[in-house]
Amino acid sequence: MKRQIPLAFCFLFGIAMIFTQFSPHSYSQAVYKEVIDWGLIISPFAMVLAVVTLIQTHVTRINLRTEHWQYSLIVFVGMIVMVLIGVPFGPQNSIVEWLYNNVQVPMDASMFSLLAFFIASAAFRAFRARSFEAFLLLATAMIVMIGNVPVGDLVWNKVMSWMPWTDGASWLRQWILDVLNNAARRGIILGVSLGVISQSIRIILGIERSYLGGGD
């Protein structure tokens, strides 16, 4: 029963939602709207689950005194402060806004900014033309990078002024993105889409049951 009821619901709603995509009838659209409204009501519970999981993870880390467990305490301090002020007074409360603008924004931005330093270091150490394929990748990356900034066209128009066309760096970048990149991306999109369709059919028909848990 624990498995049969969810499987039956999944089949029923899966088939109903497919049907609503092809039927403009008012009954069909009313069902569609109703299910979307239910979805909107259910969605916030996913956030509750996320918070519970976060608490469980960090409580375990503190209890077991795993490496850097002290940072888990900071997670709780941050969460409790934001909940205590944010829930009763709302997101537009001046203290919540101050904490967001002066703590979260600079910390998030700093974390992301560090990427530039590591990318530069990694590019120097790892981006080597060890084979013909690696050379092709390297050359393409160089062209896209140089075409992505105005200095590419500036250099092209000065150094390659004898060529019949101008702004060659950005043109080459655009061509790589429009032609080579598109061909590869489209293949990936088609593959992923076919996979999603087949997986959806398996879930609706109850063949794929891993989402129910239990490992089968």
């Binding site: 569609y32 979805g39 909107l40 969605s43 537009q92 998030d108 330093f117 590019a123």
Partner: protein, 271 residues
């Protein structure tokens, strides 16, 4: 010498990166910008909209990646307000409302736009797909109130706006996969016209949708913001950011070339 170059301390590279980021920020050098077709298409589309039209801007980026999409948001909002185009703001990410609301308020104040008449910020609701699909039938069924707790049905500019049918364009400013979600659910299901402004790392993902016409325009990272600012003849944060990015790109290209020269010399010596 060769060994030294090959095993350069990464702290040296970090210092070089810091210098090429700080220096151009302090001493800006204006470089000529070539406007790409996807950015021009977006500009032309908005330019062709009559006064009183409505566009929706989805602020789907977080504080970690705001450096690139924020200049785009500023440029587009400035363009819209100058043409009398109304803006509905919203976000699919829970940590963005404060950021987006503050930005909308700032740009609106600079352009004498009035909240509730020229623009509105709906905020965030959980459930990405349900929010996108729900707004297709009735925006107020998803957002009963806006971010400032005003009932959406009572906001003057929302009087004649029920769903996507009354919205001329959705601009998704994204640092993740939200643009594809908007395309799949809002464009395919409801025929909503979509454009995007995305961070440089996900530009390549967007090109198939440009070719199919599912995206009517695209601003790629700092470059897109700078291009849009050029079209508006109002250089701003995008142009400054592109300036910095130029030097950082040149440094990385230089380091890769240096690393490869050292690699090939060493390989030749080793026979």
């Amino acid at each position: 010498m060769l060994e030294k170059i090959m095993n350069m301390d990464r702290r040296v590279i970090f210092i070089l990166v810091a210098l090429v980021v700080i220096f151009p920020t302090l001493v800006p050098v204006r470089m000529p910008i070539t406007v790409s077709e996807p950015t021009r298409n977006l500009y032309d589309f908005i330019e062709a909209l009559p006064s009183g039209s409505t566009i929706m801007i989805a602020f789907d980026y977080g504080p970690s990646s705001l450096a690139e999409p924020e200049p785009m948001a500023k440029a587009v909002m400035q363009h819209c307000f100058s043409k009398g185009i109304k803006i509905i703001g919203m976000t699919l990410l829970p940590n963005t409302p404060t950021l987006a609301h503050k930005l909308m308020r700032k740009i609106a104040a600079e352009n004498n736009a009035v909240y509730g008449e020229d623009y509105v910020f709906l905020g965030y609701r959980p459930g990405t797909l349900q929010v996108i699909l729900g707004m297709g039938t009735d925006i107020s069924s998803v957002f009963e109130t806006d971010y400032e707790n005003k009932t959406v049905d009572e906001i003057p500019m929302m009087e004649n706006i029920t769903n996507y049918d009354q919205i001329d364009l959705l601009l998704d400013l994204a640092s993740g996969s939200t643009t594809e979600t908007w395309i799949i659910y809002a464009n395919t299901r409801y025929g909503l016209k979509i454009a995007a402004g995305v961070t440089a790392v996900i530009i390549a993902q967007m090109y198939p949708y440009l070719q199919t016409g599912q995206l009517i325009g695209l601003m790629p990272g700092y470059l897109g913001a700078a291009e849009y600012e050029k079209l508006l003849n109002a250089p701003g944060d995008g142009t400054i950011g592109l300036n910095t990015a130029t030097y950082a790109h040149l440094l990385i290209i230089g380091l890769v070339i240096l690393g490869n020269i050292a690699f090939f010399i060493q390989r030749r010596r080793e026979g």
